[in-house]
Symmetry: none
Subunit: 331 residues, 2 copies
């Protein structure tokens, strides 16, 4: 399952992963010696930081990942603004200065200058950082690829076959050799059956970010591209029973679900994503997700829809398949 | 335009939409009188703000929407931390204090106390705020609605017509009575022509979150539902010339763009969204967005595709249209 996990991880290069690792080690918190220390100097350690390059940033999430040097050592510094806490509001409102930006009718906008202690920036330093760290935090540009039915046959399918990505971990799940205790629902039918289980991204602590995966028992369906009207009973069965199982287990109505397939998928054994509507799950964007309801409808009106259509999907700059499309002059 | 703007705001409970309305009217900026003013007092206007309740917040986006009172008037205050800018890094690193939180091996975390002017909070005040404003900013659950071609005719279309949402502000743009200086590109042809201009969500300071809108000159196309193969020349023209204009103006290749329509749209005058691939723009999820390339392809193979298909989209609990679907027993 390593391949998949790695693939999954690359989807969401977050500060969360890092903070996970950092928290995991928090027990060792007080034992440090040498290096960046608890000594007073550490309060100004970043003043000697020399920025080389911004690895990635997010205007939406207010984060930035910076590569540079601390003294003669490579380092990565990660800054993330902290969420605005309800408890701080009163003090924020009384203790801050406002600069008027514009005003119109009932609307006015300001720049608010807050006391630093009410407006901290979470800072993580990785030092010395290896090449691997730097690559990990680097934003990978994606390009939208246009794949005709012909491109699939001549470029994508041979690539998938040559890579022979292992889906042994999927077979282990289907055979109950692994993760059996995580199964939420199973329809054991070999033709239309499937297993439903939580995605690893979901900690199952709240339904706000519910994320389940339905994995089909049939083993020869790689992706959307293999689907024809023959598979309608399978797809309809997943749609229907999957929604029922979510209602049963999590009391979440079908109208609160986003049910979709990925193209390209992360692994080439047909699976369907069930996520909570309103939760912006990684990969739920229109450039990669296909609503199961649309897939069913499209196959009903054209049995060969996904064999013949041009499909669009993003590929990261370091994805081998992107190289194949470039070689073929398709980008 | 109030209704339409309000509709936009309800879509993604963003501060962005609000700033949209605020910015749109920026011309009137200096004419105000009374209320929250440009006088020095405005610098401390929030010190008298009494919080009643937090309407919504986002730990991910570092935003909070607060309802309360300014004197004896109802008000909504919206705070959003600002993105971390590369240009500020050097000053941030030298001018800030760090408080060590934990340290383990090569990892250490700190709380960074930054100079207020390098760490502003964008603040928007709506005062006096009506019940409608308060409702608008309140977090709302959405439900996925299934709309058949028949449902569109019997439920959605009558609702749209009855509401008669004003698109006067769109006409103002098309007639160059407003926002003329913001136009990035125009094809003036009355049949296949359109205007391309930045969405208000985009501050145009970096292409990372590029967001442009193409608004068609034709005035009788409400949405995806009105499109038939007759409109292919229009759609292809927008796709082609829009991508060229983005390349020309922002040096961003077509393969880095996500080009799509919304259904339901925020306003019923046909428009197309151009956003940067990789930027998780609000509304780019598969449940609401339709790739223009797919729309073109679908109309090519079935001229009536969008008249006859069942379409799926989320509606907020307070959306009047959701009430209509419930009344009709369709939810």
């Amino acid at each position: 399952m390593a391949d998949t996990a790695a693939k999954r991880e690359t989807d969401s290069v977050g500060t969360d992963e890092l903070s996970q690792r950092v928290k995991r080690a928090k027990a060792d918190n007080e034992n440090g010696d040498g290096g960046v220390g608890k000594d007073p100097e550490s309060e100004h350690i970043l003043s000697e930081f020399k920025t080389s390059t911004v690895l990635s940033d997010s205007a939406r999430e207010k984060t930035i990942f910076v590569h540079g040097k601390l003294g003669d050592q490579e380092a990565v510094v990660i800054l993330e603004k902290t969420p605005i806490r309800e408890d701080d509001l009163a003090e924020l409102f009384t203790g801050s200065r406002l600069k008027l930006e514009m005003r119109n009718d009932i609307y006015s906008t300001y720049r608010l200058l807050a006391p630093p202690q009410l407006n901290e920036i979470k800072t993580t330093v990785v030092c010395p950082a290896t090449e691997k760290h730097i690559k990990k935090y680097q934003r990978q540009e994606s390009s939208l690829v246009e794949e005709t039915g012909e491109d699939y046959k001549s470029i994508t399918l041979p690539y998938i076959q040559k890579q022979s990505f292992s889906v042994q971990w999927v077979h282990n799940i289907l055979e109950k050799k692994a993760e059996a205790e995580r199964i939420v629902y199973e329809d054991p039918d070999p033709e239309v059956g499937f297993l439903l289980l939580p995605d690893f991204k979901w900690d199952q602590k709240q339904v706000d970010d519910l994320y389940l995966i339905a994995i089909v028992h049939q083993r020869d369906i790689r992706s959307l591209r293999d689907l024809t009207s023959e598979h309608l009973p399978l797809l309809q069965n997943i749609f229907q029973k999957g929604k029922e199982a979510v209602l049963q287990r999590y009391s979440l109505a079908a109208s609160k679900l986003r049910v979709y397939l990925h193209y390209q998928p992360s692994y080439y054994h047909l699976h369907v994503h069930f996520t909570k509507l309103g939760y912006e799950a990684p990969g739920c964007g229109v450039e990669r997700a296909h609503l199961l309801a649309d897939v069913i409808q499209n196959l009903q009106s054209d049995p060969q829809y996904y064999k013949t259509r041009t499909l669009y999907f993003p590929l990261r700059a370091d994805d081998g398949l992107l190289g194949k499309f470039k070689e073929a002059g398709r980008l």
